[in-house]
């Protein structure tokens, strides 16, 4: 009885080993003997063979429909036909690819935005936007919640990073005069993104409900109150009352976690689309 059961199992393992031996990755390892093996692992041919093998496996195909492209023709088609890659053109010039063309700045901004959304959503699991709760939650995140401190730090530093890199990105666009026709509108969209970055930072600044937060927002919103005629009303609506209090906290919270990121995301997508339509200044 027990031998009967063991037999098919052995068969499964044997078949698995045979399958692995047949893969390109295994063969690319075996091609070099002795100490050269390790260098082969790092030399790309192993990685490439491994990627090709993985992308031919059943689970990969179930998700992505097709294996990773191998031939140049397949490679140029994938950017168009894959949903995730189709914000890119099929081919670009070598000049666009050069680091000194973009310094990777726009892409870095997009990456930081994704980091902010990810870490921000995780922080929301613990944070409660109430004046008698918010500060304690921040202290808890620092001292009690596993990885809470790391997540809060990552959220905070990416936010600062976004302000820095959006500014640098704008500076490079200016220095390369990439805002000139036909890219004027995309420059304006860029400015809107910069303003949204600032507004997100400002609303997020209040949420820890510490001394820094309260007074920065008091001073900041009082500046809005200095606008003639509409200023006081505007400030009242922004704060939800005459002073920075519970009503302000929930307003800033809603703006910070839903309204501003959503609108900014829409503008970002439009920004990318315009880079394609206007033609990238480095040659699209």
């Amino acid at each position: 009885m027990s031998t009967d059961q063991a037999a098919p199992e052995r068969g499964v393992w044997r078949r698995l080993f045979q399958a692995i031996r047949k893969t390109g990755a295994y063969q690319s390892l075996g091609q070099a003997g002795g100490p050269a093996r390790l260098s082969r692992v790092f030399s790309g041919s192993f990685c490439r063979a491994l990627a090709a093998d993985v992308s031919r496996s059943v689970p990969w195909k179930a998700v992505f429909n097709r294996p990773l492209p191998q031939t140049p023709k397949e490679q140029s088609e994938i950017a168009i036909s894959s949903f995730w890659l189709h914000i890119h053109p099929a081919t670009i010039t070598r000049r666009s690819l050069k680091f000194s063309t973009t310094y990777g700045l726009g892409g870095l901004c997009a990456g930081l935005f994704m980091m902010l959304v990810g870490t921000g959503v995780l922080l929301m699991f613990y944070y409660v936007p109430a004046t008698d709760h918010a500060y304690k939650d921040m202290v808890d995140l620092q001292h009690v919640v596993s990885l809470g401190r790391l997540l809060r730090n990552m959220h905070r530093w990416s936010a600062h990073g976004l302000v820095v890199f959006v500014s640098l990105h704008m500076f490079r666009v200016f220095m390369q005069k990439a805002f000139k026709a036909p890219r004027q509108l995309n420059w304006v969209v860029g400015v809107i993104l910069l303003v949204f970055t600032m507004m997100l930072s400002f609303t997020g600044y209040l949420l820890p409900w510490d001394q820094l937060a309260l007074w920065a927002v008091t001073v900041g919103t009082n500046m809005a109150g200095a606008i003639p005629i509409v200023g006081e009303k505007f400030r009242f609506v922004l704060l939800g009352g005459p002073t920075v209090d519970q009503a302000t906290l929930i307003r800033f919270y809603v703006l910070h976690v839903v309204v501003l990121p959503l609108v900014m995301f829409i503008f970002m997508v439009y920004h990318f689309w315009r880079v394609r339509k206007d033609g990238f200044s480095g040659g699209a």
């Binding site: 200016f174 820094l212 040659g283 699209a284």
Partner: protein, 233 residues
């Protein structure tokens, strides 16, 4: 009248089918790019993007492990910390707040900056010195608001008090600057487009440096009651 026989079967000579994707203005991009060497986005660009994201993620992890985000005492509406500083990217505005009324530093300056940056690409050629010059003026002029106001005050105190909150000296000076910049842009000294572009670029760089300087001053050179301190004090 054409019969069906007279229609040539195109498909036999040219098996491709073309669909119209859209109309675009200007030169066909292919013509300009013909000489340039092209590579496929996959894997050349995609791999770089993954690498950049990886480096960014790792850097962020290291930085976040080493440095903690600040968290001060619980908010206390009765006690303002001394000094009370805005986040660093607003420190340039806070520094201007020191010289000019809130209506200027908190509303006029940010609005003029954003609007000028927005319209900047619509100024072409020699006219580009107008927005770039105005950007620079917008952060320098408010610093003299108090000074000019003092002069007006010594002549007509009542009038000076009435206009203080509206920062009229700054607004008047900014309008004058804008007019002056237009005149300068159209003057013969800007006839050389290369020179005009060089000047506008420099104006923009000086503007950025000024903003940076104001941020650094606010961060490191301002102590209690917003008085000047040296960083090592």
């Amino acid at each position: 009248m054409a019969t069906e026989d007279s229609v040539q079967p195109v498909a036999e000579t040219d098996p491709k089918e073309y669909g119209l994707l859209g109309f675009v203005q200007g030169r066909p991009p292919a013509v300009a790019d013909q000489e340039e060497e092209r590579v496929s986005v996959y894997p050349h660009l995609i791999s770089r993007e993954f690498l950049a994201f990886g480096v960014m993620f790792m850097t962020l992890l290291v930085v976040s492990t080493l440095f903690d985000a600040p968290l001060e005492e619980l908010a206390n509406p009765g006690k303002t910390p001394n000094p009370a500083k805005a986040p660093w990217y607003f420190l340039s505005l806070q520094e201007l707040l020191h010289y000019s009324p809130p209506f200027i530093a908190g509303f006029v300056v940010p609005s003029v900056l954003v609007l000028t940056v927005c319209t900047l690409p619509f100024f072409r050629g020699r006219l580009l010195v107008v927005p770039t010059g105005l950007l620079l003026a917008t952060i320098i002029v408010p610093m003299f608001d108090g000074l000019i106001w003092n002069v007006i005050h010594s002549i007509a105190p009542g009038f000076a008090d009435a206009i203080r909150v509206y920062g009229l000296p700054t607004i008047a000076l900014l309008i004058l600057t804008a007019v002056g910049l237009f005149k300068w842009a159209l003057s013969s000294s800007m006839d050389d487009p290369k020179r005009a572009e060089r000047i506008s670029t420099r104006l923009f760089i000086v503007f950025v440096l000024f903003l940076l300087a104001l941020v650094l001053i606010g961060e490191y050179f301002r102590g209690p009651e917003w008085k000047w301190v040296w960083p090592w004090q």
